[in-house]
Symmetry: C2
Subunit: 419 residues, 2 copies
């Protein structure tokens, strides 16, 4: 007996979330004796609620295989959090109705902590409502903040991008610091956890040191100490590279990016933290500065994805299907580090109760005593996640990313659902 599968992407997309989709669809296709079609929610769970499903079975083998090297969410994603079962009873009921209408037996939800929670609730509620669905969570987040897994698919590629960009820009600044820019500031993602900022420190090595100053969201910002640090770097190395997390806050928990800026007309402006620090450096030191804000570039940069990350993203997708076929429910394939030198990993299995709504922070012993750098333990953790290259194919000078047809599945329900 075959039942269909439903796949949905959730939250901010990454350079490798489609590699997980590829792992799921390719593995499901190999088991067509048990899994019928793989449908996908258009724009994530919102598409499921609206019964707006995509039929992935019309896509060619080639198109699906190219998902492995295409960034972004091929079926669309959304930021839509289902609340508790009491508060969102209608929504959960609607999901089960859609599942039943399309003979969905397997639900694969690809996201972060919120979606792990949703996944768990769907598994429980579908049981209660007499239409049991096996719900498997597939981990994804550049923030690297899921528990019960050594790391999260998406993070390694963002880390590789930020470390490489920090290295390249630092070499640029070093070449010109004598007469030009002395302080370069790059703003990176991470509102609560400094994992991506930490990756910036990987640009520096014992063999080829770079005077990096990392500003973690975990460490309250101290203007005086920061400026001293910048002065020290410039006087000893000629320049300084500052990697700042967007979530940097002062001792009162106020984001530094919230500067109370107003333009000439008195309109409130939303600045980034990088320009705020740049203004501070100028006022205090007079050093010439430049700043960059990587924003979405860092999470979509499939052109410099980590091979480890791509392989793991694919593997958690494949494992999710295999676990479903083994009868598992309410679990998440995790990544287990079995050795660090040489790096080895395998797929583990986490229970969603242990994953949902828990945020993994940077361990304090990954940040060095100064608060501006990373420790040996952090380097040993990060290095293998960034390792290996997995280049996309190119055409006319640009990565040849696949765009799917995304054909709609005919609707079966005659009711609408208002988001």
């Amino acid at each position: 007996m075959t039942r269909n599968a439903l796949y949905a992407q959730s939250g901010g997309v990454t350079a490798v979330i489609n590699a997980s989709a590829c792992g799921i669809i390719e593995t499901a296709r190999k088991h067509n004796d048990r899994i019928g079609k793989v449908f996908a929610g258009r724009n994530g769970i919102v598409g499921v609620l609206k019964e707006d499903l995509i039929d992935t079975s019309v896509e060619s083998t080639d198109a699906i295989s190219r998902l492995r090297s295409t960034p972004s969410g091929a079926f669309g994603s959304c930021r839509y959090k289902l609340k508790s079962i009491e508060e969102s009873r209608l929504a959960y009921g609607r999901l089960i109705d859609v599942f039943a209408a399309h003979d969905i037996g397997y639900f694969f939800y690809n996201g972060g902590g919120d979606s792990a929670d949703t996944c768990l609730k769907i598994a429980r509620l579908s049981q209660d409502m007499g239409y049991p669905v096996q719900a498997i969570h597939v981990p994804k987040t550049v923030d690297n903040d899921l528990p019960e897994t050594d790391n999260c698919p998406g993070f390694g590629s963002a880390a590789k991008y930020i470390a490489t960009s920090t290295l390249e820009a630092s070499l640029d600044v070093a070449s010109m610091a004598m007469s030009s820019t002395k302080v370069f500031i790059i703003e990176v993602m991470g509102r609560h956890a400094g994992w991506i900022a930490a990756a910036g420190a990987m640009a520096s090595s014992a063999e080829h040191p770079i005077p990096t100053i990392i500003l973690f969201p975990e460490i309250p910002f101290d203007r005086g100490r920061f400026i001293d640090r910048v002065r020290d770097a410039v006087s000893s190395s000629g320049y300084a590279t500052v990697v700042v997390s967007e979530g940097l806050s002062d001792e009162n928990g106020r984001f530094l990016s919230d500067q109370g800026l107003t333009d000439a007309f008195g309109h409130k402006q939303l600045g980034g933290v990088a320009p705020a620090l740049a203004a501070m450096v100028m006022q205090e030191t007079g050093y010439k500065y430049h700043w960059a804000v990587a924003d979405y570039l860092q999470r979509s940069a499939r052109h410099i994805a980590s091979k480890t990350d791509v392989e793991q993203a694919y593997a958690v997708g494949r494992a999710a299907v295999e676990m479903a076929l083994e009868g598992e429910n309410s679990v998440m394939p995790s990544i287990v580090r079995t050795d660090n030198d040489p790096y080895r990993w395998e797929i583990g299995k986490a229970r969603l109760e242990d994953v949902a709504n828990i945020e993994k922070k940077m361990p304090r012993d990954y940040i060095d005593a100064s608060g501006y750098g990373i420790t040996r333990a952090c380097r040993d953790y990060l290095r293998p996640l960034m390792e290996g290259e997995d280049y996309p194919a190119y055409r006319n000078g640009l990565p040849n990313y696949v765009r799917l047809q995304n054909v709609s599945v005919p609707r079966k329900l005659d009711t609408d659902f208002r988001i």
Copy 2:
């Protein structure tokens, strides 16, 4: 009889300026019957003035060959413009003294329009002063604004980086636009010419269109028309990608980045043009937005250099030495496009009188009638410059860029020169 050569890097560095250095040094080493050592100015012409020279002959064959895939300026660069011979007579005299002291017969100056001018003056003055030096200019600039050459080494790689980043971020935004960011703004370099901004439009193709809005420095900014354009893109495609040149100005020639921003303490702030546009979009449309500022990342991104660009950067370096050996003086190896389909190019020769101090703008027929996009002619021009990949070697997950020893040449003069 052998004479030594002197090489100096000038102005903003690029992802491939060291490939030109590699071409010069490797070619000079092949002709050691006529060229003795290749010295380099530490931090460019300032190092020459201070008699602070680097001896490249101590670097291994391997180290020199790795310059080809290392971004930034391996010997240091500077922004230092020599003025007219009358105004800078002392400096020119000092240069000739340093040349004479180190038996320099060949001067290779790797830069943009200003350095072409300096190069020309050195050739003339050395003649007048009875110490003739052959001065050859080697083109380099991400701005792509040198005349007498089809394109400038450094530009193709910046273009490939910006087009790829625009493509990747656009796919990201497209996946989430239904419920999240609808307008993405990326700020790129180009204070006077829109070449790099134009490259952003290459992210879109007839087969896979992306709703890009390009804001060129050549077209005065019109707030009302821009907002209309954003609304149109969002209503027809669901999102808009804005690529804005840092040099965008209003009809009075005022930079949009000069917003008269003040922080909560009344301090003047230097914002970028991207956040200024983002604030405008929010005020006028209420669309959720994100913005990125690529800054130095775009000119140092050797990890995604264009193969065409790397080959041309090397070739102009090699040709500079060959021209010197043929007795040429006051010339610049140029890039001549001999065919576009398939793309073919060869090295030409431009006279420095025709190069110095002339800025090549985007032809008006490269910008489409709306002023927000590029024409077929522009696409045909840009495509081959971005084509091909030339990846650096990696180590521990990061590009393994070379750092030279940069050993000083013993000084011979007993006078100092104040910059």
